[in-house]
Symmetry: C2
Subunit: 150 residues, 2 copies
DNA sequence: ACATTAGTTCAAAATAATTTGAATTAGAGG
DNA sequence: CCTCTAATTCAAATTATTTTGAACTAATGT
């Protein structure tokens, strides 16, 4: 039952730079230990999925200004009832917003989680738009495929 | 050319609570002015879309430990080459990681953006898993549909 | 009771993202 | 030159998300 951590990944040839640092962190086994649990990853990715749509981000931005009933949100976005309802449902199920009935209306507001995300950088009203794009994305800067270009 | 901002949204009956605060912020027009531009929303949602997958978050977590070649990432995740390549492509196009050729290998590392996101709460290794869930999501707490339940 | 308004739900259709496996490229080494 | 390995690309198949329009529910007012 020796648990002394082996340094070399004997079964896998590696680039020297990677092998050295991987060695210092306990090899592949050591690396794996440092990763979040699968459930943590699942929850985080689900959250991002809820935020992965411009309409939904716009709804969050609106609710960051003040609580609103569905009819106002609809008036601003100019989309069909059922479509809006779908997107509100996505945000609600993700725990980012909550709705409360008021007479014949439903007033939605941000939850604490929702408020935290609505305040995130890249979302504020007066945000840089630098457009560094292009030059981004390419397999490995000078290797593989002439067929590049997006 | 009067630009005095009207308070009442005459065309749209609203719940009193909403109407009052909407009034204070310049009505629907005032609300719209406070929203991020569409391009900002598009960029932010694209970013979240890249983060909206557990495998990809795991890759970010791995690269947060140290730069790695594709073969090590593959060994940890245990998925097919082409599948991994696809996900690396998504992260690369989102500007979260970058790859550099080293001999026959490609070593990927986090970009500054990638490092910022990998460090985000909800992603750290020893993170709470509280599971408040259930009780979340429901149209409006006591209105509409008996057909509830997810 | 009836009609209206505000929102949700459902199922089908349209789109988009992901997975799979085969083909391909490029570097290393014999 | 040939082969091996590392990794990417492509196209087809699968799966997930989004959109649409019609049907529905609940509250409000008459």
């Amino acid at each position: 039952m020796e648990e002394k951590r082996e340094c070399r990944e004997d079964t896998l040839p590696l680039p020297p730079e990677v092998e050295k640092s991987l060695c210092r962190c306990g090899g592949i086994a050591g690396l794996v230990e440092r990763l979040p649990e699968d459930e943590t990853l699942a929850r985080a990715s689900a959250l991002h999925r809820a935020l992965a749509d411009p309409l939904r981000l716009k709804v969050l931005a609106m609710l960051a200004v003040q609580p609103l009933c569905v009819c106002v949100i609809k008036a601003v976005l100019g989309i069909a009832d059922s479509k809006l309802s779908y997107h509100l449902g996505v945000l609600r199920k993700a725990g980012l917003i909550a709705g409360e009935a008021q007479g014949n209306w439903i007033v939605y507001r941000l939850t604490d989680d929702g408020a935290a995300w609505a305040a995130r950088p890249g979302m504020s009203h007066d945000d840089r738009s630098d457009t560094v794009d292009a030059e981004r994305s390419r397999p490995a800067a000078g290797r593989r495929s002439r067929t590049s270009a997006e």
